[in-house]
Assembly symmetry: C2
Homo-oligomer: 359 residues x 2
């Protein structure tokens, strides 16, 4: 096995090696203070500086204005599926949802438990192989927001541009946040589990417009209210310190290499190399419709499931790991988030050519 494999896992996913080395050092002895990072009180000056730095980097990279709060929560995107309607809707109120995959569908289910979801569009009938464009659906006039998932990890689809709507947007950006620039101002709320593009599992980034914090009904428990965390700088209770620290390191790395504009260019290059290889062969067939292709998760099939199984196994032997597609659609999935190196994509394409020749 090489010293470092190429890790195509959909999440938790590959992180910059320099981030891992820094974390390894700080875990034992943070800044040579004789105490490990994960042993420090969250109320200590040192940890307060860590969380501030992480927030500042996020604001800087994503150009978040002051009327938005940046929160570090726990429970993953799955907890947000419920927190969003609990805080922004409440009983009797409604949100419009674009059902472009399993994660959108799960969010719809939770919205219907605590409030009401109007499904404005669904691509479920075509195995979620695409996302809609603006004219394809109508948002409920009574809806408080339009909810969508910007990148659908399982199917390898992504909104090439953000939807436009008179309603405020709410977005699950778990699998493509910080991979390309976007304008936050049409959004009421954006959330993202950290474990794909910005850090390890264990923290969920939430960016919420300040004026929405008061909407929450009194019946919502304290920890499930955004306002609880917003008023205390994500320190109402002990936050997931290590995950927040690592998010800060990843954002620092991203800033150093040129920020989101620079990484978008690299992401487009990496994806182009892979999609070109798929399109120039009859052996490999892309799952996602070309107009909806993801820059983060590239999904494709081989002629038979047997060949796909062999492809995954032989890839792993060469240090190309985690290529197995999600069980719901099978096939191959190459997840190539921000920190995934271009060289790994080049080596995957070489392997694809060899494999096709020998098949």
């Amino acid at each position: 096995m090489p010293e470092r494999i190429y890790n195509f896992s959909p999440g938790p996913a590959t992180l910059p090696l320099e981030v891992l080395h820094q974390a390894a050092k700080d875990i034992v002895n943070y800044h040579d203070k004789g105490i490990g990072l994960i042993e420090m009180s969250h109320r200590s000056k040192d940890f307060m500086a860590v969380i501030e730095e992480a927030e500042n980097l996020i604001r800087d990279l994503l150009h978040i204005p002051q009327n938005y709060k940046v929160l570090f929560l726990q429970g993953g995107a799955s907890t947000q599926f419920a927190m969003v309607p609990m805080n922004l809707l409440g009983p009797g109120k409604k949100g419009s949802y674009l059902n472009t995959g399993v994660w959108a569908k799960k969010a719809i289910k939770e919205a219907n438990i605590v409030a009401s979801a109007h499904v404005a569009y669904s691509s479920e009938g075509s195995k979620y192989d695409h996302v809609p464009v603006d004219g394809d659906y109508s948002v409920d006039p009574e809806a408080e927001y339009l909810y969508f998932v910007s990148n659908n990890t399982i199917y390898g689809t992504q909104f090439p541009v953000m939807p436009k709507s008179e309603k405020m947007l709410v977005c699950d950006m778990s699998s493509d946040i910080m991979s390309r620039p976007f304008d936050i101002t049409p959004f009421g709320l954006v959330f993202a589990g950290a474990q794909k593009n910005i850090g390890p599992a264990g923290a969920t980034l939430v960016i919420i417009r300040e004026d929405l914090l008061d909407r929450v009904p009194e019946t919502v428990p304290t920890m499930l209210r955004y306002i609880t965390h917003a008023e205390k700088g994500s320190m109402f209770n002990t936050p997931p310190c290590f995950a927040i620290y690592t998010i800060g390191l990843v954002c620092g790395w991203l800033k150093k290499i040129g920020g989101i504009e620079a990484i978008e260019k690299i992401n487009r290059e990496k994806a182009a190399i892979l999609y070109d290889a798929i399109d120039s062969s009859d052996f490999y067939r892309g799952h996602a419709r070309k107009d909806s292709r993801s820059l983060m998760n590239v999904t494709f099939n081989l002629p038979t499931p047997e060949l796909e199984g062999r492809f995954v196994q032989e890839g792993a032997k060469r240090g190309l790991d985690g290529l197995k597609g999600h069980r719901s659609i099978g096939g191959i999935r190459a997840s190539i988030y921000n920190a995934f190196p271009k060289q790994g994509v080049i080596e995957l394409v070489e392997f694809m050519r060899e494999f096709e020749k020998n098949a």
Copy 2:
């Protein structure tokens, strides 16, 4: 500053140094597989082994029978304050609570949001300086459970023995789990934030009797239902991988040094050294009543707040860090959880004697 300070922080708290060294290694290259621990898919064989090992060690150390589920959740004990009544009570039902500190009081508040709390006892009037004994209170005959906090971090009090009740017990053991043996069978549910005795911040251990899983009303969102996590081995969604991994390491360390019976002996020794120093001086006054003293958090006062401030500062200069008491009662708090070394307690007592002499 010495190579490693004595960290008296109440949480996140000191961890075994060998655990930190192992984590540092695995974060960069897990078992020499060419991939870092925090980059591994939670569905990978390697991570599945990590979470299984952590659960098995917990079951082994705490003697948890098979009719209890062991879960790793997120959101801290504060989220459990709501999840417990959401799952075990529901609207119109009632739990009895012992109000022995801020954390108990917060749990009572959440219970009253989603169901109803009967306060069977309160020591708030005496600055929470003690916990009750069995005869001191009556549990509501209609209550589903008796809820208590086994160790009250802020005040330095602890139940010397667990309460007895005809009702099932529910306990917040955040600050003394695995510090002494206990019999799980009278308990319906036990929970503990990891960041004091068993790991870093970011995971909450929940041990729940299996037959209680079905009680949850249909109106509770998916992620807030214990049954969701119990049915999927804490892998319904991406779990807090690093925190779970570290819990496994800490439990492995604890098992190696002799398990909970062995650590209890050490904990009693450490606490005795410190309480003896307090009791043998008129300069230092313990906050907790002697019959309620905690083995985990030792709280005391000096003659004046000014002296207390100097004590904290001078201690920190000698590598005795994190001694400042909680703002709600002031004074000094020395948190000496499982991983806190006896030598640190000895050095604190030496410092106390010197400080008194020079004051």
